[in-house]
Symmetry: none
Subunit: 207 residues, 4 copies
Amino acid sequence: MSTKQAGAERRRTFTETARRAQIVDAAAQVMATEGYSGTSIARIASHLGISKGVITYHFRTKDEILRELVLRFFDEGWQHMEPAVDAATGARGKILAWVGSQLEFFSRHRTRFLATGEIMANHRGADGQLAFAEELDEEVTALSGIIVRGQQDGELREFDPRTIATLIVKTSSAVLETWAADPQTDLQAQSAALLDFIDHAIAKEKP
Amino acid sequence: MSTKQAGAERRRTFTETARRAQIVDAAAQVMATEGYSGTSIARIASHLGISKGVITYHFRTKDEILRELVLRFFDEGWQHMEPAVDAATGARGKILAWVGSQLEFFSRHRTRFLATGEIMANHRGADGQLAFAEELDEEVTALSGIIVRGQQDGELREFDPRTIATLIVKTSSAVLETWAADPQTDLQAQSAALLDFIDHAIAKEKP
Amino acid sequence: MSTKQAGAERRRTFTETARRAQIVDAAAQVMATEGYSGTSIARIASHLGISKGVITYHFRTKDEILRELVLRFFDEGWQHMEPAVDAATGARGKILAWVGSQLEFFSRHRTRFLATGEIMANHRGADGQLAFAEELDEEVTALSGIIVRGQQDGELREFDPRTIATLIVKTSSAVLETWAADPQTDLQAQSAALLDFIDHAIAKEKP
Amino acid sequence: MSTKQAGAERRRTFTETARRAQIVDAAAQVMATEGYSGTSIARIASHLGISKGVITYHFRTKDEILRELVLRFFDEGWQHMEPAVDAATGARGKILAWVGSQLEFFSRHRTRFLATGEIMANHRGADGQLAFAEELDEEVTALSGIIVRGQQDGELREFDPRTIATLIVKTSSAVLETWAADPQTDLQAQSAALLDFIDHAIAKEKP
DNA sequence: GATGAATGAGCCTTCATTCAT
DNA sequence: TATGAATGAAGGCTCATTCAT
């Protein structure tokens, strides 16, 4: 979960802040419905009923829009998850709190979850590499830390922490993607199943 | 797993067949390294050292190339999985055979696996919908059938068949994606962990 | 050398005058370093650390800024040259005073000299013609007048006055451009060589 | 005078060669009449009555067009000048042959001379530096070589070779620019005056 | 006076596709 | 079969200018 900010930010007026939020929101909506390559600046502008120029006035590049969308979403998500993870006790508890609170937060922001997924899977920097690979990695690393401590305390079985951390993150995403693709899905049930699986997979004692 | 063919096919000469295969292969390689939006016809042509015209001569549209790439990969995959699934006995056995043989096949075709993933996540038809959503659904449906029979035979616990079928498919993909992103990953170990999880999740008796 | 003013000018406050000068100066600096097409209003504004709006508030169009920059520079230049030319006696003396004082003045304002050069070489009016061709012509005409009188007085050889006047103006610019491009150049030496050349070229008697 | 080529060049068909020449010619014409910043790909295309796409099909970037225009012009020019310079004897002879043949060649290609001037004065690379500064420098260096030998042979006065070489190149350009701006100008007369000047400026003995 | 906001035209470039040879 | 040639739409982005506050 990243807390980095996109460099020096000049002071912003109220209108500017509102416009930027509005544009980022529109970008998320277009991204969620039309997909990454269907999300052009022109499309975002017409979605808002404004001219393309407004967008390039408030954001210097398209990359800046996507970056803001993704990082803000991650920040908000982490701010929601952190208290839950802190409040939980034990490694198993913290991990279940992590996944559970993440599922809860993301599920309350379906559009932005979809948009973020599109961006992370497709957006590339000038070097041709995926632009947000690092962000995913940070989450895996953080989760690994919890796992390592759980193993030292004898609460968790022995296994490679990063492998399992990765698996947890990916399966969590998989559940959300399924639900996001078809909101009819009983997310509650799937979440429960997922948490049960994870707990079985990592606990030393049978849960 | 789809067995559909890409529409009316005129008879093809040997050369034609070879050229098409060559183009589809090049498309897969570009797709795997450059991603969906980095895969233009021009890029595929220059990868092969031929002119763009050759490609549009053999394939009427870009969509036709991607369709052939995805469907052929699924067909080949199913041809590899089918004997394994048929040979296995019981629902649990068949499901483990399904996932296991799929992991095995896909892992032997990393490039095409990556390409297919890019296409399925991004390629959209004229209607703006993901073009291959249906194909994924077919696999879930087929798996669901096995699960239903397993529940009728008392071999599997009671749960919504589609929910779990979806989870199985997605987690399997997740494991492969992790490995494909970083081939250093010990796929053998991750596969074993995945199979173990699935078996625990679905079996009536403790395995 | 032009003495025209940039059209109707309303009375200006002290602040207004200062702001305009500040903006024109910034424009000259950007022009000198970034070239004509690198000089946008946005770039000038950011060079001053102010908003674009300030500039378009004080100048109705970009053309007005460039016009003021060029004409003011020419006016200042002429105000510096005029006493020297007036004080000199004879055609040869006046011409050498003209070129010498011009070299001296321009060399003390390298940035504005460069900027003016960029603008005169590139800036075009709505009709597509170079906007300041006329200004150069005025200088040639004025110099021609001195030459004609020198020929009538028997001080200068016979030749087409405009041809030589043009050559004088251009070679003078050439020397300055060379120096401006690389301020290491020994301008003093080059100036001396230039003046010597001109005197030889026009004098009836060997100098 | 540059003889460098713009990197690896694939084989070209007759049509391709013709189209490229046609486009470069059109670019020169637009450049000569509309100036550097008035020369857009769209304008070149409409000048030829073709679509913009034709141009970007034959040239990958606009820079490639301008590079070809400038370098080909320089190459042709040098091919015209070289025999004249080689045939001349002595430093004075070679320098006069240089300038004279250059004036002659450029004056026979007014449009391209103007276009090349616009490009060299304005075209910048990604680094923000003038893209063809080097080419000008090469000419000065070559001329300097002749001057140095002339000084060693006692044919030329003592002075800094590069300074005078630069002056020669610039004054030659100045004469051509004056004529190009107004083709009524008697180029013959101006050329003679220029050659006379140069000879006086550099010869040890009075010419 | 000053500024933030918005606009629309234009820029270079990439692209899938069509067509004549 | 293969290819070179051409097209027109769309991409992200910069720009001078206008306007309300």
